[in-house]
């Protein structure tokens, strides 16, 4: 029996059936199938949550190994494991007050904000130095970029109201066209990948890659 379960065909069949159970109710109104679909999605959500526990378990095992072998930077890994345990313990004393609340507000939130804020310096420096009119195409990009940047500064619209239609034209035409191109490419790619998985051409998804 276990041999049958381990076969690629069996696993693909389970995947295909699960896919159809969830996929068909989007197009056909079959109450019985809809109920099964809802139940299956809820089960999937719960199973997914348990993967967090699995991830923590793997993380602990892997990092304990590094710590025991005293590899380079092992103390950072030890620090990480200590903070994981501490947050777990702190959360047991309540979320609205107590140590968990303090760590979130006094440590996590400020560090997260600083991390994000620092990006502004890198982005400003990189864009300022990379925006060079080295040729005609780059010059066009530069002009467009400067117009949109000017419009993005809130004061500009009040001083030069005429900039708004120009900037909106640029974003509504060229900007959106490029954005749509990326979105459509990603979507088509995802569809193709999905079909390949269902046809068994992507066995790595089932964790059986290379065994065939």
């Amino acid at each position: 029996m276990s041999e049958i379960i381990k076969t690629k065909e069996f696993q693909l069949s389970i995947m295909l059936i699960s896919f159809l159970i969830v996929f068909i109710p989007y197009f056909l109104d079959i109450p019985a199938l809809d109920a099964v679909s809802t139940k299956l999605i809820t089960i999937a959500a719960l199973v997914n949550v348990f993967t967090i526990a699995l991830a923590v378990s793997s993380l602990v095992k892997r990092n304990m190994n590094f710590i025991q072998r005293k590899t380079r930077g092992w103390y950072f890994k030890a620090y990480m494991l200590i903070t994981i345990v501490l947050m777990l313990v702190f959360s047991m004393f309540g979320l609205e007050t107590g140590p968990y609340h303090w760590v979130m507000f006094a440590v996590v939130n400020p560090l997260s904000s600083v991390n994000y804020g620092i990006l502004a310096f890198y982005m400003a420096s990189t864009s300022a130095r990379a925006f060079k009119a080295r040729n005609t195409k780059a010059a066009l990009l530069l002009i467009t970029g400067v117009i949109v940047l000017l419009y993005q500064a809130p004061l500009t619209g009040t001083v030069f109201p005429g900039i708004e239609p120009v900037a909106l034209y640029l974003t509504d035409t060229f900007g959106k066209a490029a954005g749509k191109m990326f979105l459509i490419s990603i979507t088509v790619g995802a569809l193709v990948f999905g079909v390949r998985v269902l046809l068994g051409n992507e066995p790595s998804v089932l964790g059986i890659g290379g065994k065939e």
């Binding site: 809820t42 999937a44 609340h101 619209g157 959106k176 990326f182």
Partner: protein, 285 residues
């Protein structure tokens, strides 16, 4: 000054000058706000009209798909939008898409304590916080199909039975989705709620605006509030100036500074390359 003269210095200025200039133009107006006038963009007006159309008793799914870091950028839009919903008497369900964001709802309610008191909002009766319930797409899908079966308690573990959430069975029972995002589960919320017909408006961070605008065109989003600037404009429209409008001084000068550096860099590049070409030409003669 480098060997290539002033133009080469302009073309290849050190990044630390940018850091220093940005630090000055940001810290100055924050310490001493100037209050530069701002223009309100059409997208913000549209967003305000959409959220202001939410009426008394409507159930609003207020989804914070942001880490704490991203919250700083869209905080003004979040607070201003929440104020509109409270003043309009909507029933608000808050959910978050990142563990860091679990502390954000209490901060929002702290900021809007006056509005909550004035409008006699009671936790459980008029608003409820569900915490981190969007760990993945399956969770969002389950919520859309079977709300009661997926969520049965709030973020503190208190059962939601007996609250206004009893009315919410599937995606059809949500009247409006107001999403605040740096990415995360917004696509899932869109897939399982908005694409089926739940009205949805979004406030996203700056880098997400170009991709999000496409969903506005297709009608999946009813409105889009653009980053911190959109939040500041919403504060202006609602007549409640706060952190967003304060930040607009630094926002404006930061943009002008960046344009200044771009102009200097290009001027230096143009003059330096011209000088080099001209110099080579003269040597040949």
């Amino acid at each position: 000054m480098s060997n290539g003269g002033i133009w080469k210095t302009f073309a290849e200025y050190d990044r630390r000058y940018v850091y220093l200039a940005l630090f000055i133009v940001v810290i100055g107006p924050l310490l001493s706000p100037i209050g530069v006038p701002i223009s309100v963009s059409p997208s913000t007006r549209q967003y305000y009209e959409v959220i202001n159309a939410v009426g008394e008793g409507d159930i609003v799914f207020f989804t914070l798909n942001t880490e704490f870091s991203g919250y700083n950028e869209i905080q003004s839009g979040i607070i201003a939008s929440m104020r509109v919903f409270i003043e309009n008497g909507a029933k608000i369900v808050i959910a978050v898409g990142h563990p860091e964001a679990t502390s954000i709802p209490s901060m929002i309610f702290q900021d809007l304590n006056k509005e909550l008191t004035e409008n006699e909002y009671v936790y459980g009766e008029d608003y409820i916080s569900l915490g981190y319930i969007f760990p993945n797409e399956a969770a969002v899908a389950a919520l859309a199909e079977d709300f009661q079966g997926t969520v049965s308690q709030d973020w503190l573990g208190v059962p939601t039975a007996g609250t206004f959430l009893d009315e919410v069975k599937t995606w059809k029972d949500i009247d409006f989705i107001s999403d605040y995002t740096t990415g995360l589960a917004t696509t899932h919320v869109m897939n399982h709620f908005a694409l089926r017909g739940t009205p949805m408006a979004v406030n996203c961070i700056g880098v997400m605006i170009p991709s999000s605008m496409n969903y506005l065109d297709t009608g999946v989003y009813l409105a889009l509030l653009n980053s911190m600037r959109g939040g500041a404009e919403l504060e202006y429209l609602t007549g409640h100036p706060a952190s967003g409008l304060t930040a607009m001084d630094a926002f404006t000068f930061g943009h002008y500074m960046l344009i200044g550096f771009i102009v200097i860099g290009n001027l230096g590049y143009l003059m330096y390359t011209r000088k080099q070409t001209y110099g080579r030409g003269r040597k040949k003669q």
